[in-house]
Subunit: 214 residues, 2 copies
């Protein structure tokens, strides 16, 4: 397997955690999203992923894209250890928690969007910071509420083993800290984030541990 990754991409970070949790080895190919005007836009990479985004996973000749689709694939092909509970209501809960991050926070705050705000809408640093914080606060407030109020939450987002929800949460917390979001209103999120980072599968996937980190 080949994983096209960038150390700071939270979507690639998710897939790195999933591979580690499942004990799978992938050959990492580094795509620098800033250098050379963004290596993701170069023809060579567009041949791999026409959308020009990371991550992409090559397995058995097929290129898989979109981090959640890649992780669901890994879950189906390498079911142990599982990243989703066995029961459908539990699976729906874990997927919804993951999608609050993947659909409602991250897409608004990634590099291409912040660039658009800067270049096309001529926003200043303060306005972009406010934008970033706004969507994290919206999403984390909902997540904290859903996690703190539900007895299904355990050491991790769902029970006492890591799941797809934790895989999405940890990179988002990393990113929020990078942008200096105050996390004091989210004790459950912070507790789960610390619990995850105590696992080598999570800590090894962290941006600062990557060979392309600069």
């Amino acid at each position: 397997m080949k994983l096209y990754t960038y150390f700071r991409s939270t979507a690639a970070y998710r897939v790195r955690i999933a591979l580690n949790l499942k004990g799978l080895q992938a050959d990492y190919r580094y795509v620098h999203l800033v250098k050379d005007g963004g290596q993701q836009h170069q023809p060579d990479y567009r041949k791999v992923n026409p959308q020009g985004l990371v991550p992409a996973l090559e397995d058995k000749g097929q290129v898989l894209t979109q981090s959640l689709a890649i992780i669901e694939y890994l879950e189906e092909v390498h079911p142990n250890p599982p990243l989703l509970p066995k029961d459908s209501p539990g699976r729906a809960r874990v997927r919804a928690l993951a999608q609050i991050v993947a659909c409602d926070i991250h897409p608004l705050n990634n590099l291409r969007v912040l660039k658009y705000l800067e270049k096309e809408l001529a926003t200043d640093d303060a306005a972009r910071e406010q934008w970033y914080h706004h969507w994290v606060v919206e999403g984390f407030t909902a997540l904290e509420n859903l996690l703190a109020s539900n007895p299904a939450t355990g050491e991790f987002c769902h029970g006492n083993t890591p799941s797809l929800a934790d895989i999405c949460l940890v990179p988002q917390v990393f990113n929020a800290k990078r942008f200096s979001v105050d996390l004091s209103a989210y004790p459950t999120i912070q507790r789960i984030n610390s619990r995850c980072l105590a696992l080598k599968a999570f800590s090894d996937a962290a941006p600062e541990k990557q060979a392309d980190a600069q």
Copy 2:
């Protein structure tokens, strides 16, 4: 089952299509996203979904949120007719196509974001229109390329039966037309959209057919 829906929400539109394709009846509860300052913000609805977004599906006492998580749940609990192929690479392809819409286009262009652009960033109509078009063009260009270049594409996004990918595509095309995006560069998307809308499951779920349409 109860579905909390709003006629123009493309995420709710996806779930309406999925329910129709599976022949499932749900009791619709209408949450008007504009009236009364947005009924999704009212305490009664926040009790159902603390995130204050539609759709939400109540089934057997559990509230499910996030359209893709809801549809995966319906797929697990009511497997026929299937909305995902049987093979894992095929499932990964369908999920990735769906997520290009659900993670890379829709989150940037929904009501709460357009409102933020207007109120907080004081953008004018033209700037917001350009923003909307930009993310649709980015996403649809990738989708068109992925659909047109892959022999797995059939009458629908994947083969000759509708899947989760079509369920996400059709509401996004509806929305793009509402915002007057020129779709002439996307013949495959247009062809599949027409094919889908020839099915009652899709056409019955359309915004203009809903009881809350105004």
